[in-house]
Structure formats: C-alpha cells, structure tokens
C-alpha cells in the first residue's frame, strides 16, 4: 500500500516545476513553524550568539571595540578572585536553599496529603509566598529582619537572643531563609501532586503487609516520587542560581561582599561598570558550571 503511494508520488514530482519542488523540499508543516523559529532566532539565538561573541572581545560601553581577543576574558574571569568567590557564594546558597526546600517540602507534602480538614484553604494559604514578586519579598524581609526595626530580631531579643541577620556571618544564610520561605511552597506543590497521583493500592498492600512508615516510605513513596523530585530539583537549582533580587534590594552584595551572587556581580560588571564583554564571559562560565549537574539530573530522571 505505502509502496504504491510513494511510487506514484515520485512519478508526480518528476513532472513538477520549481515552485512545487520548493514546496516539496520545505513542506507546509515547516512553514507553520517559521514564526516560532524567527522569534526564537531574534530573541534567543541572536542575543545568545552575540553575547558569546562579545565575550571574545574587549567590548565596553565606554569603549566599543569589537576586536577579537580570543579567550582572554575567560582567563581573566577565572583567575579573578572576585568571580570564584562569587561562584562559591552562589553555589553555597543554591545547595543550602534547595536542600532545605527539598526536605521541608517533602515533609510538608506528606503531612498535607494526610490532612482531611480544611484542605483547600490550608493549601491556598501555604502557596501564597510563591505568587509574590521576589523584589517585594526582599523588601518585606529587609524590614522584617532589620536589627533595629525588624519584628524577628526584636522577638528574639525578648529571649535575650541578639541576632543581626545581615552581619557578614549571617547575611547569606538570611538570603537562604528568604528563599526557603518563598519557594518551599513550590516544592510542596510539585510533590503533593506527585504523591496524590500515585496508585493507592500498593500503599494499601503495604498496610496489610504490616510495613512501617519508614519501610513504606523507602520502598514505595521515594522511588515512585523520584521523577518528580528530580524535576523539582532541576527547576529549583536553575531558579535559585539566579539569586539577584533579594541581594539587590537588601544587601547590595554586602556586607563585605559576602552576598555577592554571580547574577549580582554580572549585573555590576556589565551594567554598572559597563564591562559587557567580561560580564558575558562570566555568564558563559556559569552556564557551563550549571550545565553539568543539570544534565546529570535529567539523565537520572530519564532512567527512573
């Protein structure tokens, strides 16, 4: 059947003119994709390519030289203590925030799954933080955690506990705290939907078999939830590595550069100090650093 039809098609195309040959070479379904390809090209591929090109030059807003200097900027960035320090700060933030969100999110999701009374209202309330703009959240916490004005330090002071949330030792952890406050609900949301879409009967079988909570969790819940966990991790690692708003509105990188996240120094280098080429190089180094764990996690997701 298909042989016959492809044969007749081949016969027909031999008799065709230029236009119909073009149509054959670029079938209609490709033309349908053209608008999207154009948009992607203009707004994603071109800027990406151009910024990579910039990273190979001396380009500054004050001196728009497009002379090609190879990987000189990369060498500079990697040997520059500020960048590596900032990378360390960002990775610390990402690992701490995402791990806490993961564990806390899982615990909350397991608890919410069991909840019977006032389910919807609890969930709606719990999920509100993630609907707020990070800048607004940053501003709220800037006052909430302020040593003189803030509710939290004053409340802790009642118990004789003097905490400066924005001291050099604490500032980054305060950023972690804010991120956990805002984004744990996202983890809960994903995990809850994962938990609730699981088949019920294996869990009932485990109840009959007499499995303890931990045995059930280890042999049933966790393996079945693994794909969701990995997706949640990937999304949160990508998102949290873009730490910028909290830093920008609260600490401005301080005190003493202890909260200078990568996004923040890229912004400073490129937009404040006009060194666009160097900022581009930083961005590409960071892209590589991030790509490794993300690709590894996605591979794991495929296997499970």
């Amino acid at each position: 059947m298909s042989q016959v039809s492809s044969q007749t098609l081949a016969d027909a195309s031999e008799r065709k003119g230029l236009f119909s040959r073009l149509v054959d070479a670029f079938p209609f379904r490709w033309w349908m994709a053209l608008p999207l390809i154009l948009l992607l090209g203009i707004f994603v591929l071109y800027p990406l390519g151009f910024s990579f090109y910039l990273s190979l030059t001396e380009y500054k807003l004050t001196n728009r030289s497009l002379d090609f200097i190879g990987f000189e900027q990369y060498r500079r960035v990697l040997t520059d203590g500020d960048f590596t320090e900032s990378l360390k700060i960002t990775l610390t933030f990402v690992v701490a925030a995402v791990l806490i969100e993961l564990v806390l999110g899982l615990v909350l999701a397991l608890a919410l799954q069991k909840q019977k009374f006032a389910r919807n209202i609890t969930r709606a309330l719990l999920f509100t933080p993630m609907f707020l703009a990070p800048v607004a959240v940053g501003l709220v916490f800037r006052f909430l955690l302020n040593q003189q004005l803030g509710l939290l330090p004053n409340a802790l002071a009642v118990f004789g506990w003097q905490v400066d949330f924005f001291s050099p030792n604490m500032a980054l952890w305060s950023m972690v705290l804010i991120d956990v406050w805002q984004w744990t609900p996202f983890m809960v949301l994903l995990m809850l939907s994962g938990l609730e879409s699981m088949p019920k009967s294996p869990f009932e079988a485990a109840r009959v078999d007499g499995a303890s909570f931990f045995l059930t969790f280890r042999t049933l819940t966790l393996p079945m939830l693994a794909p969701v966990l990995i997706v949640a991790l990937v999304i949160r690692v990508l998102e949290s590595s873009k730490l910028f708003e909290y830093v920008f509105v609260i600490t401005n990188g301080g005190p003493g550069g202890t909260t200078e996240s990568l996004q923040f120094i890229m912004y400073q280098t490129g937009i404040r100090f006009f060194r666009l080429a160097e900022a581009s190089a930083m961005a590409f180094v960071f892209l590589l650093v991030l790509a490794v764990p993300i690709i590894w996690m996605l591979r794991q997701a495929k296997e499970t």
């Binding site: 088949p199 009967s201 294996p202 009932e204 079988a205 109840r207 009959v208 007499g210």
Partner: protein
Amino acid sequence: MASITFDNVVKNYGTFQAIRNVSFEIPDGEFAVIVGPSGSGKTTMLRSIGGLESISSGRILIGDRDVTNVAPKHRDIAFVFQNYALYAHLTVRANIGFPLKARKTPKAEIAERVEDVARRAGLEKLLDRKPAELSGGQQQRVAIARALVRQPSVFLFDEPMSNLDAQLRLDLRHEVLELQQSLGVTSVWVTHDQEEAMAMGDRILVVNHGIVEQNASPENLYSDPVNSYVAGAIGSPRMNMIQGHSANQVLTADGQNYPLFPGCPDGNIVAGIRPEDIHPVESGREGSFQAKVQLVELLGARAIVSLAVGDRRLNAVFSRRELGDIKELDTISVSMAKDRLLFFKPDNGERIRLAG
C-alpha cells in the same frame, strides 16, 4: 479457627449507605464468593474485612476475635488486589518477601519461604525480574504468592482476575482453588462474574444495593433462590421472568396464555423458568404452547434458542438431541418443566413458596 462474621455491619459514605446492616458468617476453611454488580457494596464488604475501610457501626469478627477496630496488619489477613498492587521498584523476590521483611523475619527464613512459595506459584524463573517485565497473569501470580508467603488465617481477593484474559482466568481459577483446598485457609473472593462465583465458591453471597440478598451454596442459590433478584443474577443465560395474571392454572401475560399446573398461586405473579427447563415437545401436547424460533446459537453440545411468544422473548437451552432439525423462523411447541417453575411477588420480587 478463622471464620469471618459480620454482625449488623453498616458503612456510610456521607449520606450513601454502602453496606446496610449486614450480618453473615463464613465458616472456617470455606471459599466464599461475594458476587454483585458494580456499586453493590461487595468490594466495600471485602475491604471492611481487611480493615482497609472502617465501618460505621456493627462488628466484624475473624475467628472469635473482634477486629472491628484492629489495624489491617494485625488482622492476620492477606489481600490480593484487582490491579495486583505490586511494589514496582522491587524484584519479584523482594515483592514476595516483603510481608516477611515488614515483620522482621530473619533473612535466611525469608529466602527459604520465598523460594518455597515461588515454586508453588510457578515463579522460580522470574524471581529476579521487576513487575513491569511480567505479563498480567504472572503479576497476579506474584501478588498471590505474596499473599501466601505469610500463611495468614484469611485470604481476601478483590476481583483479582478482571484484568486477565479468559483462558488465563480459567487456569488461575484452578490453581487458586487447588491452593486454597490444600491450605484450608478461609477465603473471600469478590467478583461481578456469576459464572466465576458458581465455579469457585463453596458458598456464595449475592449482594445488591448494600445488602446480602442470599447467602447459600451454589446449588441452593441456583435451585432455590429467595427472590427474583437472586434468580436473575445466578445462571446464564438468565432465568426467564414472565409477569402476568394467574387464574385456573393459566398464566396470562401480554395476551398470551402459559399453562401452569394445579397448586400454582393465583393473582398477579411473576413466573420464573430457567432456559434449560424449557423443552421442545410434539405439538398439541398438554401444557405446551407455540413459539417461534428467532435465533439459534450453537454452543457445541447445547444451543441457546431465542423464542418469540407473542411480543415476549424467552431464552431456552436445548441439548443437541432436543434441537434436532429445529431452525430459525420455525414455529415449534414447547413446554416448561413444571416442577422447575418458580413464582415471585411482582412488587418486591419475594419468592412465593408453594404449599407442600
């Protein structure tokens, strides 16, 4: 000793009553089948025995022990689910051994008992596979092996074969029955398939709208149903039900007369006759009536014959010999075996028993 007793059990879901004040007893060692249409409460009853569903009132006893408020794991039961409910990330070996592991049995003993049960269930070669690598029949076998391994005092089966094809069902049916007979463990099997129920049960509980219509042996259900629901639910093809007015040993329904016999109840009644109790006879014989053959479905030794009597359809099952050269569109004389006629009240379907 592990009989199962329901004592005035009620289960409500909001305003819906899934089990309406049900009492019954399944004696120790029996294979009981709960049969009913979907939504009849049969699975709820089974899950209540297993403790997966808590009941609203009443008591459930396993043996002499009141287990009404006892957790599933302490009821000494094993449950086989409709969709197998295997642990997808564990091997067959770990699946079967799981109930033992959960109860902290020593590893050596687990290994030994898993091997033993796997051999009985014909799973020796599959022990290191994951459930996803097995066919439906094999998966259900693993589920049954998992139920067997702990040697519980009660087996509960929730429509365990509804996802399997017909031949596999027959095979597995035999295997389960043989296993149950050799172990002598009280078993409850839920199904909507009355043939399966008839084939497997020492005892059948016919369930409808949350009540047990009848609790009896298959023979009793078949020959002596308590009401028209049970009469219709058991037996295939279904019992013919003729509703009409009876007077002077003649039942008149839709303008047709069906001869009855002395001692039959008078008034508005429903007469029930099983297809195999309608026989072809020579025309004009006493007690016979005319029917037109609409359809003959040959099943080998027997044939299902659809008869039209006026506007009414009656199903009959003729043996090969009875069928002779009767073919579609013939008009034949048939009679109903008189001692097999059953009578029911038209309003509530209750059986009208004949005096003497």
